[in-house]
């Protein structure tokens, strides 16, 4: 069950601290797919990259993002989420950081603060492709496996088996 998942540390700090929320926070809805044309979908509460045939393409998860306002704006810090931004992509820390989806809305996190670091990615653009570096794990990039139907992960060494270049396009 989703309940068994660790909850975002954020929830201990309710959003009511701001009497008037930033209602205008624009949520951007994008398609994210890797340069090997793999789309993202959900399997066992994980984002997985694979090829969606025919009517299966309806399973594709659109990525919602908002800027994280407490980081250097030049690095383009963003928070990624799925299911209309209701679930956010979080990075673990440690020797081998892992990714997981947590039940916290991306707009809650966009206000920033130290506890939002693990939800934050610095996005960079080159030749029409994007890379996403974990703010909590410098040097670790969002990646897909060269194999299809494998979970989205993080890597420090992009190679033939770890794809780190993505297309990222407004829906």
């Amino acid at each position: 069950m989703g309940d068994s998942e660790p909850r975002a540390g954020l929830e201990a700090h309710p959003s009511e601290i701001h009497e008037k929320p930033a209602a205008q926070m624009k949520v951007f809805k994008y398609r994210l797919w890797d340069v090997a044309q793999k789309s993202l979908y959900l399997r066992n509460n994980q984002l997985v990259a694979g090829y969606l045939q025919g009517p299966n393409s309806a399973l594709e998860e659109k990525i919602c993002w908002v800027p994280n306002r407490s980081f250097e704006r030049e690095k383009f810090p963003i928070i990624l989420g799925v299911q209309d931004g209701r679930r956010s992509l979080a990075c673990g820390t440690g020797a081998l950081p892992a990714l997981q989806l947590e039940d916290v809305n991306i707009t809650e996190l966009s206000r920033g603060g130290e506890e939002t670091t693990r939800f934050t990615f610095f996005r960079s653009y080159k030749d029409g492709m994007w890379r996403f570096e974990s703010a909590a794990n410098p040097g670790w990039l969002l990646c897909t496996s060269a194999q299809s139907n494998e979970p989205l992960g993080l890597t420090t060494s992009p190679d033939a088996a770890h794809i780190v270049d993505f297309y990222f396009q407004l829906c």
């Binding site: 701001h18 205008q24 090997a36 044309q37 045939q53 025919g54 306002r69 407004l170």
Partner: protein, 425 residues
């Protein structure tokens, strides 16, 4: 438990397997099975629990108990008539339980009827191999719901998988959607071949565009041996359409072709355009203390729709909703505007009302997109009017104009007089 998106369950086709190698032999509810289940229920107080791993329901059972944990695999299988198909019983992990390594008894059934996939004719068309069900080749009547059951002494799980076998004429309906951007190079990928590839380096694909073979000498399209890719250089909108990749597969001395069809969509590469703040276009705005002031920040984002540009207001380098927790100063609704095929984003800063501290605050409008960032500082000054500066400036400008006109008129008269005087000298 978060519900996964699921493809609506297809109605069972109700077709019995025509093939002789598949016998609809054992119905699921035999009397003995029913009685045994009841007895088991009475005799054992079983601590039965269901471990829910989202896509799979794994049930802890006594070896005699019927398996109740039944889920439908969220992806559907599609195949063309006459081509080889492999249905895989999904392997799953849950916490410490890794069913891929546990010795499990795996059985397959179709449309609620047990399948016998061994015995019978010498060369069966359908058989099981490890965790998979092979169709060599698939025929239209193979469409339907297949159920694989994994069971060992402690656990069981049932997964339903839908297979749809279609005629070759319906190939576009089961194509894979892929996207490339114009004026760039990119690759198409021949997907889902993995289970058929015996040696990756030997993989050789033939590629077709709209059924026409792509010439190996074609400089625009390149397919390298040992890869799943078709490289397309300098993509143009004319390259969109249906591509087919084809690999050969030999089994039992028979050669089969496996094809995948891809619909390529081309998108125009977005033009690089850094946002330009066009308003406010002056350093200060006059406002009366206690009045309501709306200060729009209008950003030009070029001719392509860079609506992903982030536009916001800062007060003393902090976001306004953080500075003004009571909401006296707020960001208004973001507007995305198209004027004469040019695109703008406007985000107003609303003072309700203007307070004294606003005259000593640095306000900045900030605009940022993939290609650049601009920050424009502005201030609010105490003035007689809270009207927007240009409205307030009109009477001032008119007054200046009139005064200027009068002055010029006087000067001209004086110069005319002087000129006469000089002429006299």
């Amino acid at each position: 438990m978060k519900a996964l998106p699921r493809v609506p369950q297809e109605k069972p086709l109700g077709k019995r397997m025509q093939n002789q190698k598949l016998q609809d032999a054992v119905p699921h509810f035999s009397l003995s099975c029913f009685l045994w289940k009841k007895m088991a229920g009475l005799l054992f107080v079983i601590c039965t629990y269901i471990v829910d791993a989202s896509a799979f329901r794994i049930q802890h059972v006594e070896s005699t108990e019927n398996c109740q944990g039944h889920t439908t695999y969220f992806k559907r299988y599609f195949a063309l008539k006459g081509e080889p198909v492999i249905l895989k019983c999904p392997s799953f992990k849950y916490k410490h339980l890794d069913f891929s390594s546990h010795p499990c008894n795996l059985t397959w059934s179709k449309n609620d009827s047990k399948m016998m996939t061994s015995g019978g004719d010498e060369e069966p068309r359908i058989w099981t191999q490890d965790d998979a069900l092979w169709f060599l080749p698939a025929s239209l009547e193979d469409s339907g719901q297949y159920v694989c059951t994994r069971r060992n002494s402690s656990y069981c799980a049932i997964v339903s998988i839908h297979l749809t076998v279609t005629e070759k004429t319906a190939v576009h309906e089961i194509s894979y959607h892929q996207i490339l951007f114009t004026f760039t190079s990119g690759k198409l990928v021949c997907p889902d071949l993995g289970d058929f590839i015996q040696k990756e380096t030997d993989l050789e694909l033939k590629w077709y565009k709209d059924s026409v073979p792509l010439d190996e000498d074609n400089k625009k399209f390149k397919s390298l041996k040992g890869t799943h890719y078709l490289y397309i250089s300098f993509v143009s909108s004319k390259d969109s359409g249906y591509y087919t990749c084809e690999m050969s597969f030999t089994s039992g001395g028979t050669l089969y072709n496996i094809t995948r069809t891809i619909q390529l969509q081309t998108l125009d590469q977005e033009k690089r355009f850094s946002p330009v703040i066009v308003y406010p276009d002056q350093k200060t705005t006059l406002a009366a203390l206690g009045s309501r002031l709306i200060l729009p920040c209008k950003v030009f984002i070029g001719s392509s729709k860079h609506f992903h540009t982030v536009v916001g207001w800062l007060a003393n380098d902090t976001y306004v909703d953080i500075t003004y927790k009571q909401g006296r100063v707020t960001e208004g609704e973001r507007l995305e505007i198209v004027e004469n095929d040019e695109n703008y984003i406007e985000v107003p800063l609303i003072f309700d009302p203007v307070g004294e501290m606003d005259f000593y605050t640095d306000f900045k409008c900030e605009a940022q997109n993939n290609h650049g960032r601009q920050v424009l500082p502005t201030r609010v000054r105490q003035g007689a009017s809270s009207l927007p500066w240009h409205t307030a400036a009109i009477p001032v400008a008119l007054t200046c104009l009139i005064l200027g006109g009068l002055c010029m008129h006087k000067c001209w008269k004086r110069r005319a007089g002087n000129g006469y005087a000089i002429a006299k000298l």
